[in-house]
């Protein structure tokens, strides 16, 4: 990689700053934790890909040429603006997602991290994850990302079957993926995650399980199993619609999921969320923040965020969406300092609904302690303790409510969305009984 002198200097400076920061923090000892309203996770969206995957309906663009410097400046500007708006003082994790953020230059990653560290406290042990495509991640480049401050990789491996990879429109092969995985593990030991998809058209249970077993020989301490969902507007969706490909069989997908999670449990993995498995405590703290309904800032085109504005007081948490299209987003960032397209205040009930729906995705579920943090008018017992329909779910061993809190059983977790259709209305009902005239928006 040949970089102009100025950019090289910038890259080196940023990387050094990141390393300095890390050293300083590790010396500084354990910092005093700020209150939840002063803490946040930061998500950074890199909207570009080399090629469109056949199943992906994310906000991504296949550019003819990326003006990376402009993009970088805008990401830096936006993260500064939003950190200031939110008054967040401590950033506990940063996640570079996409798109394909491993196509961005390490310099960009370093610059964003540097900007975060300038405004807020970014502890040295903060989780900084980068989503990486096996093809765009040669070892040397991964090392540069590491120097820029990345300390965790999430590799979109998706399948260990070359035919399936082709079907998905991935640019890599099984062997190149495994090579990338090995290099990643060497550079980020214990900090590499891989994604594996299930429920593809024509995929059978046996062969898929063998893929998973094979992957267990190569993977690190974190794994995500995602069932394919056919999204409108994708090539795969169109192929299934036209009958070129068989529709994925939900029965088979369910079986793969059940067999897969059982296999991972035997292999010593903790299923800490519906689709996520970790051993040796390698949970992703960034994603954990989502499921615990912590604050997060969304930076970059189409990114989502949820945080309370500084000085707004009380609970005026907002759901924010940034402008989708990269060029427009950049224009807005240059004009206003950020590209927030939509701000929706989250009502208190809405927040509690999210706390419920997200919390139950995790293995610990909703602890009483966690629930009380959101200052609900009612305890979990009040809401769910005496309800007949909830009782049926408890009796069917799908749900547990005890001194720890409310959580799904092993088999309940697989049908959580059905359970929520009972739990959410019950929460709403209890809420309306205790708060006679809810203020607009909550």
């Amino acid at each position: 990689m040949v970089l102009p002198a100025a950019r090289t200097r910038g890259l080196v400076a940023a990387a050094k700053a990141a390393q300095r920061r890390r050293r300083v923090d590790s010396v500084g000892g354990s910092p005093s934790p700020e209150p939840a309203s002063r803490r946040a996770a930061v998500y950074v969206h890199w909207p570009y890909c080399e090629k469109r995957c056949s199943y992906c309906n994310f906000n991504k663009y296949i550019p003819r040429g990326v003006e990376e410097a402009a993009m970088r400046n805008c990401l830096v500007t936006e993260v500064r603006t939003l950190l200031q708006l939110s008054g967040v003082q401590r950033v506990e994790s940063v996640f570079f997602g996409g798109g394909t953020p491993s196509l961005a230059s390490p310099h960009t990653v370093a610059a964003v991290l540097e900007a975060v560290a300038q405004i807020a406290h970014l502890p040295a042990d903060s989780e900084v994850t980068l989503e990486a495509n096996p093809t765009s991640s040669p070892a040397s480049r991964l090392a540069e990302f590491g120097a820029a401050g990345v300390n965790r990789l999430s590799i979109g491996l998706q399948s260990l079957d070359d035919t399936e990879l082709q079907l998905l429109g991935r640019t890599h092969s099984t062997s190149s993926a495994l090579r990338a995985l090995a290099e990643a593990r060497r550079l980020f030991p214990g900090r590499v995650s891989v994604d594996l998809m299930l429920g593809l058209p024509a995929q059978q249970v046996g062969p898929w399980l063998r893929q998973l077993q094979e992957l267990l020989h190569h993977c690190d301490d974190h794994l995500s199993l995602y069932q394919l969902s056919l999204e409108r507007g994708t090539a795969l969706f169109a192929q299934v619609q036209r009958g070129v490909l068989p529709a994925p069989d939900p029965e088979l997908a369910a079986e793969m999921y059940q067999e897969g999670r059982a296999l991972l449990r035997e292999a010593g993995f903790r299923q800490y969320e519906v689709s996520n498995f970790a051993r040796n405590g390698a949970l992703s703290t960034h994603n954990w923040t989502y499921w615990q309904c912590g604050q997060y800032l969304g930076i970059g085109p189409g990114a989502h965020g949820r945080f309370t504005l500084q000085g707004a007081g009380g609970h005026a948490r907002e759901a924010r969406i940034q402008t989708l299209e990269p060029d427009n987003w950049m224009k807005e960032v240059m004009l206003f300092g950020h590209g927030t397209r939509k701000r929706v205040p989250l009502g208190k009930l809405e927040l509690l609904e999210e706390v419920l729906a997200m919390g139950l995705r995790t293995d610990v579920g909703l602890t009483h302690q966690h629930w009380q943090q959101f200052e609900p008018p009612l305890t979990l017992w009040d809401i769910f303790g005496a309800n007949k329909e909830v009782k049926e779910l408890l009796e069917q061993d799908l749900l547990l409510l005890d001194h720890r809190g409310l959580r799904c059983s092993w088999q309940g977790l697989a049908v959580l969305d059905s359970l929520l259709l009972t739990l959410l209305p019950r929460l709403q009902e209890a809420w309306h009984q205790t708060t006679p005239s809810p203020a607009p928006g909550g």
Binding site: L225, V274, W291, V415, L416
Partner: protein, 591 residues
Amino acid sequence: TGAARPGAATNSWPTDRLFCSAELKEKPDMSKFLVEDIRNFSIIAHVDHGKSTLADRLLELTGTIDKTKNNKQVLDKLQVERERGITVKAQTASLFYSFQGKQYLLNLIDTPGHVDFSYEVSRSLSACQGVLLVIDANEGIQAQTVANFFLAFEAQLTVIPVINKIDLKNADPDMVEKQIEKVFDIPSDECIKISAKLGTNVESVLQAVIERIPPPKVHRKNPLRALVFDSTFDQYRGVIANVALFDGVVSKGDKIVSAHNQKTYEVNEVGVLNPNEKSTHKLYAGQVGYLIAGMKDVTEAQIGDTLYLHNHPVEPLPGFKSAKPMVFAGMYPVDQSEYNNLKSAIEKLTLNDSSVTVHRDSSLALGAGWRLGFLGLLHMEVFNQRLEQEYNAAVILTTPTVPYKAVLSSAKLIKARRAVQQNMMFIDQSRVMLKYLFPLNEIVVDFYDSLKSLSSGYASFDYEDAGYQTAELVKMDILLNGNIVEELVTIVHKDKAHTVGKTICERLKDTLPRQLFEIAIQAAIGSKIVARETVKPYRKNVLAKCYGGDITRKMKLLKRQAEGKKRMRKIGNIEVPKDAFIKVLKTQTNK
């Protein structure tokens, strides 16, 4: 040319003495048309044999409408009529025609062609002395040709057979002549061969109307005796009654009485239909036209009612059989909040179609609605289409059911339909007429479609009511995990219980959302299970990816589903969305 078409230049009302340029605004004087110069006739035909096209030509020939290329089914005023190429509502037009130096008033009463509307036909015929029986030169005599012929024959009307479409390549008018002779016993030389589309020989049809159809037997000097043969409702003017005068005269300001309800009305307006309403000073015996007399509701202008002058009571004319609904359907608003709008739409539409019977009804699955009675399936479809097109109403139509009397203990296609053959007659070498006694519930849904497809479109079909017969009918319950679904209780013939039950169970299986437990769907007669399907429980129902950007979308989806769940009907512990019933009811076939 003028020579070839005698009277063509002077036959039309607008250019003749009635409408001289000086008196364009003057109302026409109907007294000039003496009884012997009047002919009242109808055109009857099987569907698509060209009845409406012939009517267009007759209207053009008599100058009633301009001769342009756009005259297509002028009398079919409703959108649904033009779209489907059928006539639903009888229409009337007064034609003025000069023949051999004499001006005639020819009242054409257009009638619906379809079997469902034979009620409309019969009431139109009661105002006529003759009919044009139009037969396609290609297709020959069809089922409704026969039905319509007998309606006219029973009413002792003069029948003029008109063989149409002789311009078509495969036309065989001679063969059709022979059929007519054989089936209707009408000498073949009485047939008039025309092409209504091209206008060929249409003039001779008008001449035959004058020469062969007798004038009405009426008396102008007697006190008024008018038959109401149709009525429509106008938002601004109230009920417009179409009347045929059998005796006397009626004019604006007359006080008239309905023999049916004994109410007195004052006539505001009389006139002829040309084919639009054209007011006149008076209407005289033998003439056909309309009158408006402050009636607020079409039920006040009962079809078949006799109107007479106040203080001059007359013997009422023999009324007709009132329309007897043959097919029933539940009709419900798609959304209950639309109930009142739909109610007013149905009320307005039934003002113009008194043959539809309306009863309030309610269903556990669909909420408040109505049970409507129709003359037939097409009638039902047309009514539904008119609701949609003219009133923008969206409705759920449930399976039509036919009336049963509650003493419930009761070729291959035809055999499977529980039919009994009554007689058989060969119309010609290639055509046979079969008469069967059918249970009505076997034919209301799709018999005609099946018949058409089995015979590659060659067979045609007509029916009349043959009264109630005992049959072995049973009540079939549909159960979900042992609980009866009241919405889906069906009356079915014993022999078909299994097939019908199986179909319903399969449909339900396809529409019931999976739940957290297994659902057994059963069809049962008493305690005997005749069909069963199973809906497997959900093994996995959770969104795989749920991170920052997915949360809003996921919460929206969950809340929408939770809302939908609230609207579901609980049967035992099973949640059934209402559209599951709709899907089952809508498409259910009683085979």
